[in-house]
């Protein structure tokens, strides 16, 4: 008997507007508690929410990039429940009419190209934090995060394996960063995932009871949690017992799922339209304008790097991990052979700036300067190892390769073989001048010297060149 897992995800992503969704407070992680609060996010009597412009812009980018239809109007709703870190006693969210519906995302997993339908994407405010361990017998409430802007992305249950779930999440995280929508910082709670999973006989279309998985805070734990849960459900089904619909939470220390204490009261959230906020409306012009600014996302870019530049699939994957990396590569590939460009980025550059850096390197060593350096190495004006030294200096000081080469004397190429190569090139280009020299026109030597210095970008060791040049011309 083969079993098939049916997995859907709910992903909460913090928008990188830096401000709360309904007031102007900063969203800062790690500051002293209750230092980024105002009447609105404290839920004070008389305070009213006002929608932050930038959060909407970012959420709209996400919705469109996920292929969602964005209705002309979407509405806000109140989700009512009591919890100490929910200051108003309700969360402002979108319920009946979310801002994005019916999208689709293609992604690559180990199992090949996959496609996943997006059910909806909506905007909502985050809750604050309950700190249970700070005071004996007391829970402390910090509202710095209360009101932080989130989008919730809900997928259809189209995933069939924990690996696919992980691959999708990685792809989503990458793309949200490409879009400048979110930093997706999991350590700071900037990306949180709930999953629902059931198993059924392969090929069956029956809907089975779903188990919800909550509180998992890394992609590898999600994969692990799903794998555990699927195994548990299969075992249970094979033993002939049914799987109960329930919520299971991930225990970080034990690295396993456990049943959530079900002392929970029946959750009746009494959603109703939020009267303090007018509906969110989008005109066709706005949608078109935002669509026009959407970048090519990582998967498309990866594929194009392979087809257009001929780099390996592996290299394309590395180069498209961040948008800055990929932009850097493309700019470099204007001047440098793509294979060489890829090697330089994945080798020396990433050694200097570290994984996923890119932006820093791009500031200190812009692509055109790296191209200059590569040309020096290619022309053997400096050795490869000298090239690395030069790159380090460029990154540290923001200077150009020739500057470093000149200053460090790295360009004083005295290597006989290299110098002879340059000399041969020049002499072969101008046999007429060679003949004139031999006929006694000695000032032609200066002409050759100038050509060789140009060819070597000034790095040829002049005395050595003169000696070798005279030698060669005599031999002739």
């Amino acid at each position: 008997m083969t079993w098939e897992a049916v997995i859907g995800l709910e992903v909460h992503v913090q928008l990188r507007s830096g401000r709360k969704l309904f007031c102007g407070d900063r969203v800062v992680f790690g500051d002293p508690p209750n230092t980024h609060v105002c009447p609105v996010c404290l839920g004070l009597p008389g305070a009213l929410p006002v929608l932050d412009r930038q959060a909407v812009d970012l959420a709209l980018r996400a919705a469109l990039a996920l292929g969602c239809t964005v209705p002309r109007t979407s509405t806000w709703a109140r989700k009512n429940y009591f919890y100490p870190d929910l200051p108003k006693g309700y969360q402002i969210t979108q319920f009946e009419h979310p801002m994005g519906i019916g999208g689709r995302v293609d992604f690559d997993s180990d199992g090949g190209a996959k496609s996943l339908r997006i059910r909806r994407i909506h905007v909502e405010e985050d809750a604050g934090k309950s700190l249970h361990a700070r005071r004996p017998g007391r829970t402390g409430i910090d509202l710095n995060r209360a009101g932080a802007p989130l989008v919730e992305i809900v997928t259809e249950p189209d995933l069939r394996s924990p690996g696919d779930a992980r691959a999708f999440l990685q792809s989503l995280k990458r793309d949200l960063a490409y879009l400048d929508v979110s930093d997706c910082n999991m350590e700071q709670g900037g990306l949180r995932v709930d999953a629902n999973v059931s198993v059924r006989r392969a090929g069956s279309a029956v809907l089975e009871a779903k188990v919800e998985i909550k509180n998992v805070n890394s992609f590898s734990y999600i994969e692990k949690a799903l794998t555990q849960e699927i195994a548990r459900q299969i075992e249970s089904r094979e033993a002939g017992s049914a799987v109960r619909a329930e919520t299971r939470v991930w225990d970080d220390r034990r690295r396993e799922l456990r049943t959530m204490r079900s002392k929970e009261e029946s959750s009746d959230y009494r959603y109703f339209p939020e009267p303090d906020l007018p509906p969110l409306a989008f005109g066709p012009e706005e949608l078109a304008a935002v669509r026009a600014t959407l970048p090519e996302l990582s998967r498309a870019r990866r594929r194009r790097f392979v087809s257009e530049f001929g780099v390996s699939t592996y290299a394309a994957g590395v180069l498209t991990r961040t948008r800055a990396w990929a932009d850097y590569f493309e700019a470099l590939a204007l001047d440098v052979a793509p294979g060489e460009a890829a090697n330089w980025i994945m080798g020396p550059i990433s050694a200097i700036v570290g994984e996923g850096g890119g932006s820093e390197a791009a500031i200190r060593v812009p692509p055109h300067r790296l191209a200059e350096l590569i040309a020096l190495v290619e022309s053997a004006a400096i050795s490869r190892s000298a090239g690395r030294t030069v790159l380090e200096a460029m990154a540290a000081e923001g200077v150009s390769a020739p500057e470093v080469v000149r200053r460090e004397g790295l360009g004083q190429v005295a290597d006989r073989q290299v110098l002879e190569g340059w000399i041969d090139t020049i002499l072969n280009e101008d046999e007429g001048a060679v003949a004139r020299y031999r006929a006694g026109e000695e000032q032609v030597l200066g002409h050759f010297m100038g050509r060789i210095m140009t060819l070597s970008a000034g790095r040829a060791h002049p005395t050595e060149v003169r000696r070798l040049l005279q030698e060669k011309l005599r031999e002739g």
């Binding site: 009447p39 004070l44 009597p45 008389g46 109140r78 009591f82 829970t139 009494r270 009267p275």
Partner: protein
């Protein structure tokens, strides 16, 4: 900046304090400004030096804001309502916070946790509610103007009961920022005044766009003071038949008839109109207001502010004891109703149905105004002020005090109550309703009625 003969507002405050401490106390104020709460001088503005009373559900810097609830006893807001900021900018001096029904829930002021305000015309009668303290303060001559709030008639009904002018502007005309929410889609800050002109200038001073209220309009504010002298010539005033049926005190009806005649004599064209869904307005209002209130009052949980009870037990105790002891009976009644009509299995039958009926009620007004009617004229209340305790035992009877006023809140239109006569010495109010943003029309008609029917009229 200027100071008019020292600080005359101190004398005004002293006089109120003396009256309220005496045998004729109206219990109109929950807090009076101390010397330190009042400025030494005030900016030049349309309300320079005018003492003003503010309903205790508008948060104020300095003075506490309790909403007449035990739960908020002593609460000091760390920010101030936009309407109050604008009052101060216009030169007005906030002299105290007025009594009200707890969180605005009531039509008699008897649901104040700190005892009812009394009607200055007859202290055995209610001043109306929920802005009863503001209406009483104006009627008693304590202040010429006062701010109130109107969710279902809470400015107009007490204005009618106390014989003063009360106006609820168009939804979105005045910022709700700093108005402690009862029912957000219905609440609007309103103005009370001894005269139409006073109410108009107060309304004008607090009106206008506020970026901190997403439902506040960006429309320019008209010159309401000028509208007071414009007359009613050429205006078509509709009389909705549905407002003159069962339950209307015949003596009140006679006052309304005199009002109609006065408007006709002043040059208005009078036309019969029909608003067929009128009778559904009170139940519709009750459902929607309670639903929104149940959510709006969830923030009073004893965690961040307010009186906490049961804090020694678990979190459930804290919530339940705090709210059970902190809220009065009427508030709990509305929370229970509101929670029920939003709950799973009942939401469509009650809440959603009320939303649909709300659309029908709005459409009634839309039709009337599209047919060339500039304003509607009705009684404000079916009876004059009733006796203290008379309706306390019967919530439905109490809710019917709002039978003519909730419509304007449901449809968002502006409405005003002006004194149009008396019955056995008790004031009777006439209500004017205008299309969205039609406050000028209210003022013109109100001033005409005042001139022809008011105390000074011949």
């Amino acid at each position: 900046m200027k100071s008019r003969g020292g600080r005359p507002w101190l004398a005004a405050r002293d006089q109120i304090r003396a009256s309220e401490a005496g045998p004729e106390s109206l219990n109109a104020f929950l807090a009076l400004a101390e010397d330190g709460d009042m400025p030494d001088s005030v900016p030049d503005g349309p309300l320079s030096g005018v003492p003003v009373a503010v309903k205790d559900n508008l948060v104020t810097a300095g003075l506490p804001t309790t909403c007449a609830s035990r739960l908020l006893e002593g609460y000091q807001s760390p920010f101030e309502a936009t309407a109050v900021r604008r009052l101060r900018a216009a030169g007005a001096v906030v002299i105290g916070k007025t009594n009200m029904d707890e969180f605005g829930m009531g039509s008699s002021n008897e649901h104040s946790a700190f005892g009812p305000a009394l009607n200055p015309v007859d202290r055995n009668r209610v001043p109306g509610g929920s802005s009863g303290g503001s209406a009483a303060a104006v009627a008693a001559g304590y202040v010429p103007i006062a701010l109130g709030s109107d969710t279902g008639g809470s400015v107009r009904q007490p204005a009618a009961f106390c014989g003063v002018v009360g106006v609820k502007p168009t939804y979105g005309r005045v910022s709700r920022y700093g108005l402690v929410a009862f029912a957000s889609s219905l609440d609007q800050v309103g103005a009370l005044g001894r005269t139409v002109y006073d109410a108009a200038r107060l309304l004008q001073a607090v009106s206008g766009h506020d970026p901190r209220d997403a439902t506040s309009s960006t429309r320019p504010v008209p010159d309401l003071r000028a509208a007071a002298s414009r007359g009613v010539g050429g205006l078509v005033v509709g009389i909705p038949d549905e407002y003159l049926r069962d339950g209307l005190d015949p003596a009140v009806r006679r006052c309304v008839d005199e009002g109609v005649e006065a408007l006709h004599d002043a040059g208005a064209e009078i036309r019969q109109v029909s608003l067929p869904h009128t009778r559904f307005a009170v139940p519709c209002y009750q459902v929607l207001a309670a639903a929104e209130a149940s959510s709006n009052l969830a923030r009073f949980d004893g965690v961040r502010y307010g009186r906490r009870s049961g804090g020694d037990g678990d979190l459930g105790d804290l919530y339940e004891v705090t709210r059970t002891e902190g809220f009065g009976r009427e508030v709990k009644r509305r929370i229970v109703l509101g929670t029920f009509v939003l709950s799973a299995g009942y939401q469509d039958r009650y809440y959603s149905q009320a939303q649909r009926v709300r659309a029908l009620i709005s459409a009634d007004f839309g039709r009337a105004f599209n047919d060339g009617v500039h304003a509607l004229f009705t009684p404000t209340t079916p009876t004059p002020a009733f006796r203290l305790g008379e309706r306390l035992g019967n919530p439905v009877q109490m809710y019917l005090s709002d039978v003519y006023t909730v419509h304007a809140n449901l449809s968002g239109i502006p409405a005003m109550s002006v004194p149009i006569g008396t019955v056995d010495g008790l004031p009777v109010g006439g209500q004017i309703m205008a299309p969205w943003w039609g406050e000028e029309t209210l003022v013109s008609i109100g001033a005409t009625l005042e001139a022809r029917l008011g105390e000074g009229a011949g």
